[in-house]
Symmetry: C2
Subunit: 212 residues, 2 copies
Amino acid sequence: MTLPTKRIAESTVRRLSMYLRYLEGLDAIGQRTASSDELAQLCGTTPAQVRKDLSFFGSFGKRGLGYPVHELTEHLQEILGLRQAWQVVIVGAGKIGSALAEYRGFKQRGFQVVGVYDKNPDKIGRPWGDAVVRDMSTLPDDVTEHHVDIAVLAIPADDAQDVVDQMVAAGIRAILSFAPTSLHVPAHVAVKTVNMAMELEGLSYALTNRGA
Amino acid sequence: MTLPTKRIAESTVRRLSMYLRYLEGLDAIGQRTASSDELAQLCGTTPAQVRKDLSFFGSFGKRGLGYPVHELTEHLQEILGLRQAWQVVIVGAGKIGSALAEYRGFKQRGFQVVGVYDKNPDKIGRPWGDAVVRDMSTLPDDVTEHHVDIAVLAIPADDAQDVVDQMVAAGIRAILSFAPTSLHVPAHVAVKTVNMAMELEGLSYALTNRGA
DNA sequence: ATAAGTTTGTGAAGTATTTCACAAGCTTCC
DNA sequence: GGAAGCTTGTGAAATACTTCACAAACTTAT
């Protein structure tokens, strides 16, 4: 695996993640190799795209044969930074936070949930999965002390920027936000936002303009 | 408002949705006009991008002044197809489905949840928000009879394609999926997928390669 | 050992999207 | 009413991303 010489597009990284998912599946059922064509069909993309995406990071396949499933799986885990544990906190112990807690993908992929936070006194101290809901006011100190890497934000839009500022000051390095608002952070902090309303409205647009 | 002559990029539609959100906020506090620069700062994009996005649909602003907030709000609602009600079903009455039910954005923006479905007998018949969980086997008929427009899919990846096929056959027109798998549908059906794992892995990649 | 058949890796071409830059149009001030 | 000051709308330029197309490299069959 070589290091990419130029910046990799976000769309490429998303597809790598998808390739990995399917490769893990193929690996589990004992399939040894997979062609770019097979991966493309599974992921709903094109063979050329698969090859181009992978080629940014090295040359993992064998001509005439395809890609070695197990080996490529490991390469992709390495590339995506999944062969190490990331420390994650969940901020907001509401329904969304709760749904996230249930999500097995976290542990499965090396994301360790080390804390859950809320500002509601009724929720603080309550057991929550393996953990206990902690007071949001302790969040910044905890982030700093426990070297938390990623914060998952599941709080109302109005509170989001304020909490983000505190966490950034405390040294957070990445944020996955479910708050329907745009977040402003310094360049060294990575942010992804999942916005339900935006997705639904995208569908509404598609339905409205489907003929055109 | 003119109809766009060429296909509008998905990224543009996502931004329109974001502009709308902030415009509604500005409208609520009585602000009369907003410049592309102001909208850009709120949304984390550039003034040129804002103007270009809007220009695909018409010429809503006044030079020297900016865009009329209330009027543009209505135009965007129209463009995005939000001035009509869409019939939505939620498929999967687990934690994610439950979090979605709580989501006020649905009703607020004209998405009427007309049914919740699950295949688990323990859940069928239970009250769930305003509704009652229905048997998944009745889903296809309901979709056809009630002209359901959008299905929100909150079920395991392994079950997803099968359910999608049934709904497509029953006449569904759009799907918002939270199942971490790629879905195959005919061209006339719009699909959006929200994939937690993909977002987290995107952050993991960013953290791993932040220096590069 | 050779031929036939696959499939990768990748420059080059093609498309799509964003950014630039500025004329045109509107408001406000004097 | 004219000048100064903003801000839009938009072609053109720049950048980014995807697709093409084919030589190179490998496997398998004979």
